[in-house]
């Protein structure tokens, strides 16, 4: 695989090059997905230029304002997992990013790379979905923001065009009293992609009624999404063991509805049910 290697120094230059070489160009950031394609010779043969954004300061930051947390596209999983702002406002994202691969992978892999690759098992995605994350995308002439839930087309395909650069991912600060959880199941402990993962964010009022509930299981639907039907089972109610059980069953039936019955269904059905039940029980503190 032959290509020229470009290292623009600011975002405008990146977008200019993306536009100029449209159809023949690809971005590399942390490279943890890209390098595997390169090694397996699976990069598209049309690619003639690689644009490296891994050293761009302008893509590497975590900021907060009164309402929002804003994370630069090139921020690494380790930088996110160890960041005080993220740990304060979105521990679910800290936990999810901290579960990715290995220390070496987390030191290179970035948030934007994780979502662009669009693996159904991407760990940052369920966390960002329960935070109602938004993706800011820039071209040489436009900037737009789209909800993360609209970002995916099918497994390993996201709605990013070749001339587009993700610049940041942001979400509204959830109320401080929110509780959340992230759980993933892997084959080995370290260095593994999730087989199943799930993120939950909830807010209960002073009489325990659930005011906010967001549930996003990963790896069980073609594109990651929030399970609103499941959320509605518990919303505005006080959580009980029975309701949680019903919600967990709902998750596994929604999975079959969306993904059909596959070779992995027999395994995933009981496992996702148990994972959902456990995480809801823990987050909602049901005895």
């Amino acid at each position: 695989m032959d290509f020229d290697f470009l290292q623009p120094t600011d975002l405008d230059e990146v977008c200019k090059l993306l536009n100029e070489y449209k159809g023949k160009v690809k971005i590399i950031s942390g490279g943890t997905d890209f390098m595997i394609d390169l090694h397996k010779d699976e990069l598209s043969p049309e690619i003639e230029y690689i644009i490296d954004v891994s050293n761009l300061r302008d893509l590497n930051y975590i900021k907060e304002d009164d309402n929002k947390i804003i994370i630069g596209a090139g921020t690494t999983h380790n930088e996110i997992a160890n960041n005080p702002i993220v740990n304060k406002w979105a521990p679910v994202l800290a936990k999810a990013t901290n579960s990715i691969g290995s220390p070496q992978i987390r030191n290179r892999g970035t948030l934007a790379g994780n979502i662009v690759t669009a693996s159904p098992a991407a760990d940052s995605v369920p966390a960002l979905l329960v935070l109602n994350g938004k993706v800011k995308i820039k071209t040489s002439s436009t900037t737009k923001e789209i909800p993360l839930e609209d970002f995916f087309i099918k497994p390993y395909q996201s709605k990013i065009n070749q001339d587009e650069l993700i610049v940041e991912i942001s979400f509204k600060k959830p109320p401080m009293e929110c509780k959340s959880g992230f759980k993933k199941l892997t084959r080995r402990k370290a260095v593994d992609k999730a087989r199943l993962n799930i993120a939950v964010l909830a807010l209960q009022n002073n009489i325990d009624e659930i005011e906010i509930l967001r549930i996003a299981p990963g790896s069980i639907t073609p594109t990651p999404e929030r399970f609103e039907k499941t959320e509605n089972i518990l919303l505005n109610k006080r959580p009980t063991k029975e309701l949680i059980k019903k919600a967990a069953e709902q998750v596994s039936s929604t999975m079959i509805e969306k993904s059909g019955y596959r070779w992995s269904t027999e395994y995933k059905k009981p496992v996702i049910k148990t994972m959902t039940r456990r995480i809801l029980t823990r987050v909602l503190e049901v005895e």
């Binding site: 290697f5 590399i28 390098m35 090694h39 891994s54 050293n55 691969g101 220390p103 260095v191």
Partner: protein, 160 residues
């Protein structure tokens, strides 16, 4: 394909190399600089045999494109020896604790544990396990490696 002029510091020494852009950092270290302590195992980021320290962080050198190391500072296992022929306390401890069997994982293990001890001179067992979670060893079952890191930490703390 235009060649790329790569300037970076490796084990304290400045280098300026002309490389083809599709090379990995791993290839440049092994082939252009002959630092064959950097091992290639899986080639896909899973085994950690190719671990080096880049700008203070452990990374898999099979996951980095050569040009991405522009202006960086790299430390490989060859850079651990401070004086010619004298092992780093970690290396000595790996030998003393029987943590080296076939030795293939050792350079990567050393880099991950060196990096750990830089920021945490007195790690507990969990911290050690987390630090080497991205390094696979097919021979030792990890116990000897964990012991070696504890032993090195102890010796280094006594020295200082």
């Amino acid at each position: 394909m235009e060649t790329l002029s790569l300037e970076f510091k490796v084990n304290g020494q400045e280098h300026k190399l002309s490389v083809t852009p599709n090379k990995r950092l791993l290839d440049v270290l092994r082939e252009d600089l002959n630092l064959i302590g950097v091992k290639e195992g899986c080639s896909v980021g899973e085994c950690g045999a190719c671990t080096v320290i880049m700008d203070g962080k452990i990374i898999n050198s099979c996951m980095v494109l050569a040009g991405q190391a522009q202006n960086s500072e790299i430390l490989t296992v060859e850079g651990l020896e401070k004086e010619e022929g004298k092992l780093h306390p970690l290396q000595q401890a790996f030998l003393d604790a029987g943590a080296v069997q076939c030795g293939f994982c050792t350079p990567g293990m050393l880099m991950s544990s060196y990096n750990l001890l830089q920021s945490n001179p007195d790690p507990d067992e969990e911290e050690i396990k987390d630090a080497i979670a991205g390094n696979f060893c097919r021979c030792t079952g990890y116990k000897q490696i964990i012991d070696a890191i504890k032993l090195a930490a102890e010796r280094m703390n006594r020295q200082s």
